[in-house]
Symmetry: D5
Subunit: 96 residues, 10 copies
């Protein structure tokens, strides 16, 4: 199942640079692993913002929640989830 | 370039059924043509709503606007556009 | 999987009484059938409003969307869907 | 009487880990006790958020307020309460 | 129990004057009856608006909902309900 | 004249307990004095929130403002004021 | 006492021109009478909108409400009222 | 030209009292000077809030911006500006 | 002086095609005249919407209001005006 | 392609004056360089706010995002981007 997820990141401006760098590196590593596993189907940056639009493909809502809350940046993100389903006019079979 | 588009459709409840059916059929035909041409990259239904999330891949903002305003349902839609760009953590080269 | 659904109903005040009565009767019949099948787990009225809070238990987002859009009052409703998952402090096994 | 309660939790990111762990453990213990007593009827996590949807079954608004303000996480929560009542299409007698 | 209710009235400007007058007279009669019965404790007009703030004193949420939906103007009102409880600094025993 | 006032209190979580206790005690004392003087006609807690709904009966807007800004918790409150007037359907002479 | 009033006017586009002209003429006549009486202290147009910002000087909230609801355009206006009081830095004695 | 300005002040609760007092005194002095010069035409307190409604009479938008950003409290204020113009029903020649 | 203006157009879907075409042609003619006169400095379409962002260069707020309300589409537009001024980092002398 | 960008700046009031001055000087230098290169077409201050409206002319969304996130004040800004396209009534060829 596909879920549309918007993540807005807000790191405290007072956070030490190395702590922020470590968080971002860990976030990137996990994001890429989940993409390679096919669970994080799409990941786009919203222009001008420290925010992304993502499409997750998971077996259940519980799996989605587990993935999102395990992200290193989770404590610094505001997340909104919107369930998607197949559109009757879609021509792509594997796009849900 | 990729653009994130949300379309909310609101047909007047008094619209005759055949007019609505004609509009939807025309919309579907054009949507599928644009998907086959690669300009309308993704098309998903938002669960529980007469609304969709779409990803367009166009050469310019003008092309995007021309495509959207040519949709048969355009007069009945509220549309929001958000420009997307490549995310540094994305692993897919062709996903922008 | 559980989904939290809020439905706000808005019938045109000019709708003939018998048409409204027919719509509501059909809605009630289907709502009760879905409750008996276990797909519509909870259905509560929001005090003072022609609106409800519902909990659906479905196998997929597609099933949820199919159920909601088949409701006789769907053209007259504004619907918001929020995916739920098991809370770590919940004591009820069958409550997701 | 049933009340629909949404709780959004926001712990300061600077809170020491053991203080946060203690708060969460106390919160969980009380939440489970109230569930076992039948006053906290349902407790679900909202996917992707440190937030929950709860259904309380209490004898009065005063009892509801006393329960909510006694929660260890209360100072860190934003809470919205919505009174519910029996829906005429509900088939479950004990669901209000 | 006390509930804070805000009612915003919106009559169609095209409604015939006698129909509007009849609705308002019926509304007033019922509102006064409920006040005399002690269920509608306070009723104030919001300055500059066709809207009111009311305090209801009822035995249950179901009773509140039944009272509100029985109002002749209910189909033309937007209603918001907020449960109230005794304030620890209140000096009036009978004010909840 | 009556004014509908909503006060949302937000004490910093880092405020020392005795400072908070002192503020609340002073607030309570003044609130009760104003109630006894008839200027603070009603005071209710909003369920689940550190907030109240109040009805003030004052001779002027200036008096209202002076009373509100003199409250010990004023620096920690967000306040919204709405002027009320007599409702034509009210049966209570002394309720404005 | 002074009240800050914002009035947004929304005439149905289908209203006959002479009916609209009559309404506006009546509105203007009453507005000018109230200004000459000193009750409507200021009246400004918001640039680009069919809306105004007004300052009323009245003896009570009831008087304000009576004045506003007697305006010929009242059924077509959305009105917001905000009570004002003397500012400690004001140098004008007669400006409240 | 007249501009409608709303200023919401928010001083940090941790600001030392003498620093706050100095800021307010400087603000008051400048506000009174600008009133005496005729540039700050009206200044009213919004009841119950640390906020004001002001009417400025300036020769240009640049002058308005220069005046506002020179206020000692500017770094602690949220400001909204709305251009006003003469209302066709106004009876006062010098009120724009 | 420069003003930032956003115009959202909403023509009734039931408006006859020739009436809409006439309105749009008149609007275009006037818009082009004002651009040629230098009063309407910029005019851009917002992608995906029947809306525009415009920059007006006028001698006063009254002139701006007169221009906007004279637009043939004015009765069908929602307009928001925001005064602009020279930015200290701007390198263009004639851009205000 | 043109993009409409609104930037709201919010520097912590506790930031040392020299750090703020350095940030602003660097921001100004880069802003002027980008204007001279033709990528930052317009830059206006919003009256009364520490905010600007800008028009960027870039070859792609990626270029826009790179420019915005490289601004020294980026960590302290809230940015909203809106894609623009040529308006059919525009008379200026080089204005998109």
């Amino acid at each position: 199942m596909l879920f549309h997820v918007r993540m807005n990141v807000s790191l405290p401006t007072a956070m030490p640079a190395d702590q922020a760098a470590k968080l971002k590196a860990d976030e990137k590593a996990l994001a890429q692993q989940l993409q390679n596993e096919g669970k994080w189907r799409h990941l786009w940056r919203i222009a001008g913002q420290y925010a992304n639009i993502s499409i997750f493909d998971v077996a259940s809502v519980d799996e989605l929640h587990a993935l999102l809350t395990a992200l290193p940046l989770f404590p610094y993100m505001q997340i909104e989830v919107m369930p998607l389903c197949r559109h009757p006019s879609s021509v792509r079979d594997n796009d849900l």
